[in-house]
Amino acid sequence: MGLTYTSLDTTKLSTAEVYAQALSELAAQDERIVVLTSDLAKSTKIGGFRESFPERFYNVGIAEQNMFGIAAGMAASGLIPFTSCFAIFNACRGLDQVHTDICYPNLNVKMIGSHAGTSFGQAGSTHHSTEDIAILRSIANLTVLVPADGMETAACVEAAVAHEGPVYIRINRGFDQIVYRSPLEDYQIGKANVLHEGSDMTFIACGSAVFTALQAARELESLDGLKIRVLDMHTIKPLDVEAVKKALKDTRRIITAEDHTVIGGLGGAVAEVIASSGMGCAFRRLGLQDTFSAIGYHEDLMHLHEIDVDGIMKNAREMMKIEFEEDDDWVDEV
């Protein structure tokens, strides 16, 4: 649809504001688009949509279950509802409605979960969302997107409108570090973006860990001479299985990084591909190690969970110490 954003927009607008702006532009072209929120118009920045389309904006109050049910009824009647609430309430409080009312009948509802991971730092575990990817990717029919920054969020929103069926888009609170400085012309659901090429190792990251993984790869290249591939795995489901298998075959060392528990999220999804491939691989999953989150600034929490630049570099260096036997045809042995 030719949405136009510049890097200036993403420096001035938080990721959620970019989402609101992108959705407003799409809504101007498609009158089926409506927005629902649960008293989080201000917090999720979707209030910007209300200014443009007051008659297409529903604030249902603090009632996520009702919001997802209403969205299901609207989608079943031909509208394209976008829901906006905190990711934790999307995946936990309203889960029964998301599962049964939206995903089971494969309805065209787009759910934006904001304040994802530990990005609402000081709010603590009641408002952090560190299991949402694992929970939601296990539900049939649902597409799960985790954009890295504002520019990619705009691409996700546009792709979600074009996609028929339920979509979950997981975004952070506030500003993301900029990964993309121009609109993603080639963005495709289910197709990982290769941000950096390499053959020594692959970093597979999503969300806020994409920027840090990319920075870590650049520093390891200049400091240690390592060539590390970086995949922005913005689609957790359907996962780009081919990109994972190619990384496995080409680099034989994989580190996943996500602002989420290592159980069942991006790391879990990649682990399933590796295990099913029959190919051996050095593999680490970075993220929350089966723990509830702590309170603190987002960047400090990312450091704590070793998904900041330092943490990813440390893990990569440790992994480089693993020696593989010389065996050129190892991939054929299974």
């Binding site: 008659e55 009702n66 509208l79």
Partner: protein, 286 residues
């Protein structure tokens, strides 16, 4: 009078047929939600055979009236209507609950034509119905949405989230009805989790609320037609008997879900015949 004597007799005849079909289907399925299907079949008959705009040949017709059976466990009752109207084949009822069948306890909207939502998880239907009602307004359509809840279902907090929102949005194109059969799986509603003063609760949430005999077509029709004229959303609490018409099940919460064999089925059919005659007598006497 909202209904003529002739219309009432036709509805009585249809409801009687459907009750027999429900007993047959429970027998074919081996077991089923007999009680809650028989308590709601009269209002569902009235809606489907007198009020609702639907098109059997085009189940997804976008201007159709919507029906949300929020108490989705009464699917075995609802399906008697869908088969009678030709949305599904009558012989499909013999496959109800069987492996590979498209018909199971809770009807799947993606598999069963004429079903507007895949209900079953309680406390969901009223929100979905509200979404449909708001969509009608958004799209400039005049279809109506009808939602039937169970009374036990109203233990779910999400029902009241939806009630609050219906009132807030003044969604008078949605008619909320509760099948007040006074029983749930584990016992009478007032023993398990008391609902009374039930009508007062709906009134407090902003609804014009009436308690109506849910086995009286004339009374229900009056209340339904009055609701169409009202700007305030309406909630009809339909006073019903769980298992109505089948003597061994009527009023007994243990028949929320149960198995019947050929012998019990015959007994149920005989009981339904007597119940029908009694109701006809009451209609003619009125």
């Amino acid at each position: 009078m909202a209904l003529s004597a002739q219309e009432i007799l036709q509805l009585e005849t249809k409801a009687n047929e459907l009750r027999h079909t429900i007993v047959d289907t429970v027998l074919w399925a081996g077991s089923g939600h007999l009680g809650g299907s028989l308590s709601m079949i009269d209002v569902a008959t009235l809606l489907y055979y007198h009020y609702m705009k639907i098109d059997r040949d085009n189940p997804h017709w976008e201007d159709r009236d919507r029906f949300i059976l929020s108490k989705g466990h009464a699917g075995i009752g609802f399906v008697s209507i869908l088969s009678d109207l030709g949305f599904i084949k009558k012989e499909d009822l013999k496959q109800f609950n069987l492996t590979g069948s498209h018909l199971g306890i809770h009807l799947d909207a993606t598999k069963v034509p004429g079903v507007d939502a895949s209900t079953g998880s309680l406390g969901h239907g009223l929100s979905i119905a509200l979404g449909m009602a708001l969509a009608a307004r958004q799209l400039g359509k005049d279809y109506r949405t009808f939602c039937i809840l169970g009374d036990g279902e109203c233990n779910e907090g999400s029902v009241w989230e939806a009630a609050m929102a219906i009132s807030h949005y003044k969604a008078s194109n949605l008619l909320t009805m509760v099948d007040r059969n006074h029983a749930m799986i584990d016992g009478p509603t007032e023993e398990v989790m008391a609902l009374e003063p039930f009508a007062d609760k709906w009134k407090a949430f902003g609804f014009h609320t009436e308690v109506v005999n849910g086995h009286d077509f004339a009374a229900m029709a009056e209340a339904i037609e009055a609701s169409f004229e009202r700007e305030q959303p309406t909630c009809l609490i339909l006073d019903t008997i769980k298992g109505a018409g089948v003597d061994f099940a009527a009023g007994d919460y243990r028949w929320h879900y149960g198995a019947i064999n050929e012998e019990l089925a015959q007994e149920a059919h005989r009981s339904l015949d007597a119940y029908h005659q009694k109701r006809l007598g009451a209609v003619k006497g009125a």
